[in-house]
């Protein structure tokens, strides 16, 4: 249950504005790839192209290729809905469905798609996903309470449970901890370490220590100035990026001299 993604010469546009230019990188299966870089350099934009969520924004489009295990994600016959079932996403702010209970939030991928599921299957999906998100013990007694009754960190783990309940191959996370306190952040980082046994994970983070702690590979994006496109500067093993990066700009950013 994990696939690799090979991105080649990817440009992302918002209307006429070129937001991200010429990204070529490989995202390895069962590894955590961290995207770092200053604000506005296109990390979120690039991340959203990996499950075609950019298409939700009017005027956004891509050129280039992204192959998931050899299949072009942007191919003519490829349904974006099918892509999103294989490439799940966790957002910056926890966004459980306010009209649903905790259990229904976990089952959202099934229920919203009108798929039938037996009661026992549903219960086991809920339990497995919540266990997978390290949330089971905290909520097992109140599965029918609204998802919004949880704390911010618990809500974010609920969103992760919701994402893994549909058994995707890849999990995208856009600054999943930036709205959370340090303890909840640690809980999510531990969780990421466990999840990478099963999933390919791409995480955007502004926190260098977090990138160093959770990721196997790190990609550094940069932007020459406002109005200019963001570019991938380099991607390498996390250890290498944080000790001996090959581009000076990376070192400047990591050591806090720019960005």
């Amino acid at each position: 249950m994990s696939k690799r993604i090979d991105v080649t010469d990817l440009n992302v546009y918002y209307g006429d504005f070129l937001a991200v230019e010429g990204v070529t990188m490989a995202i390895e299966p069962r590894q955590v790839t961290a995207l770092i870089g200053p604000s506005g350099c296109g990390k979120s934009t690039f991340l959203r192209t990996l499950n075609r969520m950019h298409e939700v924004i009017p005027g956004a489009r891509v050129s280039g290729k992204a192959l998931m295990d050899g299949v072009d994600l942007y191919g003519a016959g490829v349904d974006p809905v099918a892509v999103r079932r294989q490439v799940g996403m966790v957002f910056q702010r926890p966004n459980p469905f306010p009209t649903m209970s905790i259990a229904d939030n976990v089952l959202a991928g099934v229920k919203l798609n009108n798929r039938r599921i037996s009661k026992s299957d549903a219960a086991s999906v809920v339990e497995q996903s919540l266990r997978g998100a390290n949330l089971w013990n905290e909520v097992k007694d109140r599965l029918d309470r609204p998802g919004s009754s949880l704390s911010g960190g618990q809500q974010q783990r609920l969103c992760i449970a919701r994402a893994i309940a549909v058994q995707p191959e890849v999990l995208l996370m856009d600054e999943p901890c930036s709205a959370l306190d340090p303890i909840s952040t640690l809980a999510i980082e531990d969780l990421i370490n466990e999840l990478k046994e099963q999933f390919t994970i791409v995480i955007v983070t502004h926190n260098m220590q977090q990138a160093a702690r959770v990721s196997d590979r790190t990609a550094f994006f940069n932007i020459a100035g406002t109005g200019k496109p963001g570019k991938l500067i380099e991607i390498d093993d996390t250890g290498t990026i944080f000790s001996t990066p090959s581009v000076p700009a990376t070192e400047d950013y990591i050591s806090g001299r720019s960005g």
Partner: protein
């Protein structure tokens, strides 16, 4: 104000924080505003008696002015300028609230008081067959049936159109088409109801000739008035649904139409129900278009597609213009209409609270 009531009426010396901020000083006791109010009323009464111009409104108006001045000056002397401003603002806000209540309460009062003269179970369950001259029998059963049927038919026409238009505008509409629709909806909101009635009449005359009268004509006229209200309120409710919920659903691999159906509409349903209720309340009392298109009838007609129908507003209008006992019937019919609107509102509230997003408690 809670601070004001919590502070003891004993004069205390100004205490100060480290930075020299005064935290407390002499405050008026709790009874002070009431006694000033009492004195203001007495004073106004006395002055107006001398001037021989006593009436409830004049006394109250003068007393309000005297009270506002009195409490502000007293507070200025005892409590200082900041509290004086607070007292003045409080007085003005409460005063404005009371003034706003006057028309509401007096309207309800008059309708209930005059409506109750004839209002009874019999009134609700008989029609006007065989009622002549100054007979006090007769009732509005046929008009209730007509109003409910015609309004329901109008809602059946307007709600789907309004809902789908609002969904288009919020979830799909971009560019000139969406802007044109928004503009037309704005224009439609301003259509006078008599124009809607004439339009419906002309439309049906084209197909069925000038002698045709049916409840459906009224329903079409009402739906012209109702649709823009539905569109507007549903549109507003849909825009309140956070984009993050749409994205959360789409990112789970849920197609857009299911996302709209099961996330956006589901999240907004409480507000949508309220909005539709407001639209119904807006048209249920319309008189002019129904007068033209549906006319009047003395007995119950449940066929929307054939024949005249009685409706409560037209019934009230008709009876009122007859004079005599008809005037009492008009008031009782008005009361019936208000009761119906209130019942519909209660139902809508119940439905809304059933579907509202569960609070984080």
């Amino acid at each position: 104000m809670s601070l004001a009531t919590a502070t003891p009426p004993v004069p205390t010396r100004p205490r100060s924080l480290g930075r020299g901020v005064q935290t407390s000083r002499r405050r008026l006791p709790r009874w002070a505003p009431w006694s000033i109010l009492g004195s203001a009323i007495l004073l106004s009464l006395a002055v107006l008696t001398l001037a021989d111009a006593t009436s409830v409104p004049s006394v109250l108006a003068l007393a309000a002015v005297v009270y506002a001045g009195g409490i502000t000056v007293t507070a200025l002397v005892v409590e200082g300028p900041r509290w004086a401003k607070d007292r003045l603002a409080t007085t003005v806000v409460i005063g404005a609230f009371l003034v706003a209540l006057i028309p509401l309460v007096s309207l309800l009062w008059i309708v209930v008081a005059r409506g109750l003269r004839l209002f009874s179970w019999d009134f609700l369950t008989t029609d006007m067959v065989g009622v002549f001259g100054s007979m006090t029998t007769g009732g509005v059963q046929h008009a209730i049936v007509g109003t409910l049927l015609i309004t329901a038919a109008a809602a059946v026409i307007s709600v789907p159109i309004g809902l789908l238009t609002a969904i288009y505008l919020v979830e799909y509409g971009r560019g000139p088409l969406a802007r044109a629709i928004t503009f037309l909806v704005d224009v439609m909101t301003g259509i006078p109801s008599i124009v809607a009635g004439l339009f419906a009449f002309a439309l049906f005359t084209l197909f069925f000739g000038p002698a045709y009268r049916a409840g459906i004509m009224g329903a079409v006229a009402l739906s012209l008035l109702m649709t823009p209200v539905v569109i507007r309120s549903v549109e507003e409710m849909l825009r309140l649904v956070p984009n993050e919920l749409r994205e959360a659903s789409l990112a789970l691999g849920v197609p857009k139409w299911l996302t709209i159906l099961k996330v956006v509409l589901r999240t907004a349903v409480a507000g949508i129900v309220t909005g539709i209720m407001l639209a119904v309340a807006r048209v249920i009392g319309e008189t002019a278009p129904l007068l033209i298109a549906v006319g009047m009838m003395t007995k119950t007609n449940t066929n929307l597609f054939e024949g005249r129908m009685a409706t409560l507003p037209v019934f009230a209008y008709n009876e009122y213009s007859k004079g005599g006992v008809g005037i009492d019937r008009a008031w009782a019919a008005a009361l019936t209409l208000i009761v119906i609107v209130m019942l519909l509102n209660l139902i809508a509230r119940f439905v809304s609270s059933k579907f509202a997003p569960k609070a984080a408690r």
